[in-house]
Symmetry: C2
Subunit: 252 residues, 2 copies
DNA sequence: TAGTGGTCTAGACCACCCT
DNA sequence: GGGTGGTCTAGACCACTAC
């Protein structure tokens, strides 16, 4: 018979489909090229559209495809490396491509309050910023700065816009930065972050939580939301190395 | 009428469902508790099972739920912090909970060869290891070590099992480590990694690629696959801090 | 207006775990 | 064997984009 031994291990259809499509992307498509639409592709492979979509979702998760409603599915460029590590200890955005958006005074979320070592009642400055790299937004950040960290600012009555955000960052920069630590985990984009990142709500993101230490305490906490589909976070100087794809392939 | 203004922004059902379920998890469930099955839950909320599953998938992605086929859906504990950062420069596993599995001599994948600065023809030792934390597997790793990095080993004719893996690591440890850098990105588990991690193929994982520098060149490259649902990768000493949930909630 | 991806439904069957 | 989550189908309608 024409059957191989592999028939005895019924691989899910969408998984096989993902493999086939992935290989086709390598060999028959170029970056930016648009794929046939989902209905055509599903028909071509003889599966339901939902099954095809499961395969496309995987490929999108791995950063190989980009899908946009009303437009189509395109072949994604390799992920860009964005430096998030403490190559040198520095307050965020001092030498970087962060753009302050606005700043409000608010009560911190419980998790942030715990990191700051303060209660949820103590008001903090919440600076919202965007990080742009390669011409497109890659991250949305909320930087929580306790009022105690920037005492000079309290008296100033500036509006809550970008001007105030810059003022907070300027005051923060006057403190001697003693250290920082970071954590990275998977999350899904909240509605507001998704908008900033030009993605749909729920899109997979990498959450980078950073604590900044100064004057013997936690002087600020940053929660940055990076697009997981387009970004590879680098710690150290590996950002300049090109990776072929997010997913390694096993040598045969 | 009983309609609110929010009706004008038709939030997807699964998104609303995710929010409702998430709040229920906070207030009415304890860690480890098992939820009603998907068919019951779908009926209770008046949606199709597929729609409910979309919500559950999001919550699982955020590390709030754990689903196991044949068993059920349980409330997940907060993600554990696993240290991956260079708290101090050290060869991997010197002070850690890594467990060598086996070691084969093979040709490196193209992406790894590029990082090593060698061709895909030059054979390398591929050491496979598992990392266990809190009693469960959290990472599967492939450590690629060019034969040139461990010259003493070449002559030894040990079998390809754990003994050989330990031998490679021992030889590697004799080199003076000059530095390392890391990259983190989102991926999906290959079949073999998924098995090691006790997950289904395609499960979301955090890929940590590390380059180890010694003797003026890249002496080894590690590709580690961390479970994204249960792990929060920490860089520095933030591992001991408890985070309530992977996803921050906005202060109202 | 036409075409795309995003959401949703109501079923069916399968693989796996436990008893 | 009975119950669970995982896969798959064949439709339908919606939201968005571009022309």
């Amino acid at each position: 018979m024409g059957t191989t031994q592999l028939e005895s291990v019924p691989e899910p259809k969408y998984w096989h489909l993902k493999t086939v499509l992935g290989e086709a992307l390598d060999s028959e498509f170029t970056v930016g090229e648009i794929l046939p639409n989902e209905r055509d592709l599903a028909a071509r492979f003889g599966v339901a559209r939902a099954t095809l979509r499961q395969a496309l979702e995987q490929l999108e998760l791995e950063g190989r495809l980009q899908r946009r409603r009303g437009v189509g599915t395109t072949v994604a460029p390799p992920r860009m490396g964005v430096e998030v590590g403490p190559a040198q200890n520095a307050w965020p955005g001092e030498t970087d491509d962060w753009q302050p958006a606005d700043c409000v005074q608010t009560a911190p979320p419980a998790a942030v309050a715990k990191l700051l070592g303060c209660g949820t009642q103590e008001p903090v400055h919440a600076v919202r910023r965007s990080r742009v790299s390669g011409g497109q937004p890659v991250a949305a950040e909320l930087l929580y700065v306790p009022a105690a960290s920037v005492p000079e600012l309290s008296a100033i009555e500036t509006p809550g816009g970008p001007a105030r955000a810059r003022a907070v960052l300027r005051e923060l920069g006057r403190l001697g930065l003693e250290g920082e630590d970071r954590a990275v985990e998977l999350g899904s984009a909240r509605a507001d972050d998704a908008k900033q990142l030009d993605r749909l709500p729920g899109a997979p993101v990498l959450l980078v939580t950073t604590r900044y230490f100064a004057q013997g305490r936690t002087a600020a906490v940053s929660v940055a939301t990076y697009r997981a589909d387009t970004c590879r976070l680098t710690f150290g100087d590996s950002g300049d190395v090109q990776i072929d794809h997010g997913q390694e392939r096993r040598a045969s």
